[in-house]
């Protein structure tokens, strides 16, 4: 119930200028185009495959979104995924420690959260820019992974975990269920908790936040710890799909996640973004690869995927800065 209609922009105009609208239209157009080219694209098995591929990215993007909303960044999630995968493998594999799931999985989650918390501490207490902290962790965590794996791959994960990851429940893999839960949880945090509101407030104007007496530390510790937790969670539900755990798991995963968040309309200057936009961007980014396969680009698909992802991130960032400038012009601050 908004009191005055004079100050409102027409609903249609407001929707069409939004990032979410553009992404949805793009996804729809691509789907129509590809299914025209090859109707098998719309087969349930292919759509299921796309959704399963989306799941881990969507899970981690929920955390990354909050990090970027506070005008920070975390580029270590790919390496953290490798480290948590290795740790999980060592703890659970029948060829290694062969621990119970009830010990191994919580321990994996705690490891991810702890690394996220460490990042947060270095950023808030240590006052090191997050790009530097996580750049360091990007290399360091990958190094630890190689160390603890001792040069060999890990297999022999518990069959129940592999089954949950591949077949899941009611035909839908565990990762998709978990991704749905994480999306709902993140939505609740953003829309219904004081914490979420303060995260956006802080990213929107650090000055105003200080003047309101909001403190930076708890907010940033939370967003980094949450991202670490979600990275471990994504590892648990997605990695057991693979036959073996290699030290190269999660390579360049951080780039994919950051790309999705930025393409999804989250401002790299902080303060602005929606979960729906991020989710749509995850879908768009994930479908590029299968789309190229169906267009029978074949061998070149891998190269094209990277090129297209890169182009999209550039467009998104340029669009964001243009939007910012226009927004400034409209309202003198």
């Amino acid at each position: 119930m908004t009191p005055n209609s004079k100050t409102e922009t027409p609903a249609f105009a407001r929707i069409t200028t939004r990032r979410e609208f553009g992404l949805a239209v793009l996804i729809a157009l691509i789907t129509i185009f590809v299914s025209f080219f090859d109707p098998r694209f719309l087969d349930a098995i292919n759509l299921r495959d796309i959704i399963v591929r989306c799941a881990p990215t969507a899970i981690v993007a929920c955390g990354m979104m909050l990090v970027i909303v506070t005008a920070e960044i975390d580029i270590s999630v790919g390496s953290l995924m490798a480290l948590t995968a290795a740790a999980m493998g060592i703890m659970l594999s029948e060829n290694e420690w062969n621990l119970s799931l009830w010990i191994g999985l919580p321990a994996t989650l705690m490891l991810g959260t702890a690394v996220g918390l460490l990042t947060g501490l270095l950023v808030t207490v240590g006052k090191v820019p997050s790009i530097i902290v996580t750049l360091g962790l990007l290399t360091a965590l990958r190094g630890f992974t190689t160390l603890i794996m001792g040069g060999k791959n890990i297999d022999g994960l518990p069959p129940s975990l592999q089954h949950a990851a591949k077949q899941g429940f009611w035909g839908i893999p565990l990762s998709v269920w978990v991704a749905a839960c994480v999306l709902v949880m993140t939505l609740v945090i953003i829309a219904w908790t004081p914490l979420g509101r303060r995260i956006f407030a802080f990213g929107s104007s650090r000055y105003a936040a200080t003047m309101c007496g909001l403190s930076e530390k708890p907010l940033k510790l939370f967003v980094f710890a949450y991202t670490g937790f979600l990275t471990a969670l994504a590892t648990i539900v997605d990695v057991p799909r693979l036959p073996t755990i290699e030290s190269g798991i999660g390579l360049e995963f951080e780039l994919l996640v950051v790309t999705c968040v930025v393409v999804g309309g989250v401002s790299i200057n902080g303060g602005r973004g929606t979960l729906l936009g991020v989710l749509l961007a995850v879908v768009l980014m994930t479908m590029i690869r299968p789309v190229l396969t169906y267009l029978e680009i074949g061998e070149e698909a891998e190269k094209w995927t990277k090129a297209i992802q890169g182009t999209l991130i550039a467009i998104a960032v340029i669009g964001d800065s243009l939007f910012r400038r226009r927004g400034r012009g409209e309202s003198r601050s």
Partner: protein, 515 residues
């Protein structure tokens, strides 16, 4: 009835500010300031720029803490240095600069930091907040789309949202720092009506404004600060324009003894074609119809309040900001708007207001800073000539008497005054014939200030035309041959530097016309 009158007195007293001291670095921002604010009164706080008003507000709202002294509200000490504690004690504030969150909507802007909650404090009470926000804004007579990010709303509406935020916490003391500075006349009247309404509800208001007519319209009493010191508190009935200005400037007006006599030949020089000629320069909503000229060797001072549009005019002349109408001519050459490169090419240079951010590359060496604006002339076939760079830096360091042991030291290791000389030197390297200085001695100690002043005077004597913007009236009076006073984006008055007084300038800056 002794007891009764005592009781009413303590009933009437809301806030006692007692012997407050606060220093920033070596600068004493507030010195031994004490005064009371009564219950339900509109108490105006006046003083020139730098008198300590903003510092006092920061202390009262818990943004910073005092070095000594006490703040007592409702006979209880305020929790100093604790923003939310001060809020809880009943102090709300409408800051001068917008403290709104541009990406959040009105509801979130009003409640962030003290959200209404349900489910044992876990979740936001979204409906309740929406209802209360709409109610608060309705009380303020404002209807705002609650769903739109605040950055997309006009300034006046943003201001109203900040008002609503302040009012949502049941405050007893409402501090308003220049609430009308960026509002139109009509919007200002609405704001003043709101102030009266708040007062009727028994809320005390500490009202900071440079607009004297507003103070006389709404205030019950007025406290004047000057140079961080308490001057006086008067009932508004006992004051008038001129008296208030006199209190702000100080009785013992600095006699202009420092002033160097303007050279005799000045009258001849004014016959020469002017170096800078600005004609009818206007920018929508920022400044209008600004026309003036500066002759070679002349120093023109620009006085006015912060926000009057002085820096914006200078930035438009130099091409940093665009302008809508009018012309800028340098040595008879018309300049296209919005091009710093052209401005530099015709011999203009500008020392910006915020030297740390805009004027210097702090970690770079003194030498590199000095030559930064002039690299083009130091090139040999596109390569930077180290020898010539060193030579030029050496010459400037000697000319300006910059105290540095080694030109290779980073500029951030120098004192404020020497840093300022480096900024000026950087622009002198390109041999400008028109120099614009925005607040050339802000944050610089007295000795260095005198050096900078001498330097400016010397350069003018060598024929350079100079435009100086300063909020320090004594600086303007010391240096200028001619003084322009800017009031709300227009040239309100023009004075001869030799005969003008601080009172005249302040009157023109505050009221908008010469007294």
């Amino acid at each position: 009835m002794m007891i009764h009158s005592q009781a009413t007195q303590s009933d009437r007293l809301l806030l006692r500010i007692d012997r407050i001291n606060k220093a920033y670095g070596g600068v004493q921002a507030l010195q031994d300031v004490s005064f009371d604010v009564g219950r339900g009164e509109v108490h105006a706080l006046c003083g020139e720029n730098g008198a300590g008003k903003s510092t006092l507000i920061k202390l009262l709202t818990g943004v910073t803490r005092p070095d000594s002294g006490s703040l007592v509200m409702n006979q209880r000490a305020l929790p100093v240095g604790n923003v939310r504690g001060c809020e809880a004690a009943g102090i709300a504030v409408l800051h001068q600069e917008s403290t709104a969150f541009p990406d959040l909507n009105a509801i979130d802007n009003i409640f962030v930091g003290r959200e209404l909650r349900v489910a044992g404090g876990l979740l936001l009470a979204r409906d309740a907040m929406r209802r209360e926000a709409a109610e608060l804004l309705e009380q303020l007579g404002e209807s705002i789309d609650l769903t739109v990010p605040l950055g997309q709303l006009p300034l006046a509406q943003r201001q109203m949202v900040s008002m609503a935020r302040a009012m949502s916490c049941q405050c007893q003391l409402f501090i308003m720092d220049e609430p009308t500075a960026s509002l139109s006349a009509q919007e200002s009247q609405k704001m003043l009506a709101l102030v009266k309404q708040l007062k009727e509800q028994g809320i005390s208001i500490l009202y900071v404004s440079h607009r004297l007519e507003e103070i006389f319209q709404i205030a019950d009493s007025v406290t004047v600060l000057r140079d961080g010191q308490y001057v006086a508190t008067h009932a508004v009935e006992d004051l008038h324009d001129r008296k208030l200005i006199q209190l702000m400037v100080g009785r013992e007006l600095d006699e202009l003894t420092v002033r160097q006599t303007v050279s005799q030949s000045k009258s001849d020089e004014t016959q020469k074609p002017s170096t800078l000629k600005v004609d009818q320069l206007s920018r929508q909503g920022i400044f209008q119809d600004v026309s003036f000229s500066i002759a070679p060797g002349e120093i023109v001072g620009m006085a006015g309040l912060v926000g009057a549009g002085r820096s914006e005019i200078a930035r438009a002349i130099f091409g940093i900001d665009p302008y809508d109408e009018g012309t800028v001519e340098v040595n008879g050459q018309m300049l296209p708007g919005g091009s710093v490169a052209r401005a530099k090419h015709v011999g203009m240079a500008m020392v910006p207001e915020d030297r740390q951010h805009e004027g210097l590359v702090l970690p770079m060496s003194v030498q590199n800073n000095l030559t930064l604006a002039n690299l083009r002339d130091l090139q040999d076939f596109g390569w930077l000539s180290q020898t010539r760079e060193r030579g030029q830096a050496k010459r400037l360091i000697a000319d300006l008497d910059i105290r540095v042991t080694d030109p290779q030291l980073p500029v951030e290791t120098l004192s404020g005054g020497n840093q300022q000389k480096v900024v000026i030197g950087k622009w002198l390297a390109s041999m400008p014939n028109l120099l614009i200085l925005d607040e050339p001695t802000r944050g610089v100690d007295v000795a260095a200030k005198a050096q900078v002043h001498r330097l400016i005077r010397e350069l003018a004597d060598e024929g350079m035309a100079t435009l100086i913007i300063s909020s320090e009236l004594s600086e303007i009076l010391t240096l200028s041959d001619r003084i322009l006073v800017i009031h709300q984006g227009r040239i309100a008055a023009e004075f001869e530097g030799a005969t003008a007084t601080q009172e005249q300038l302040l009157h023109a800056a505050l009221v908008g016309s010469a007294s």
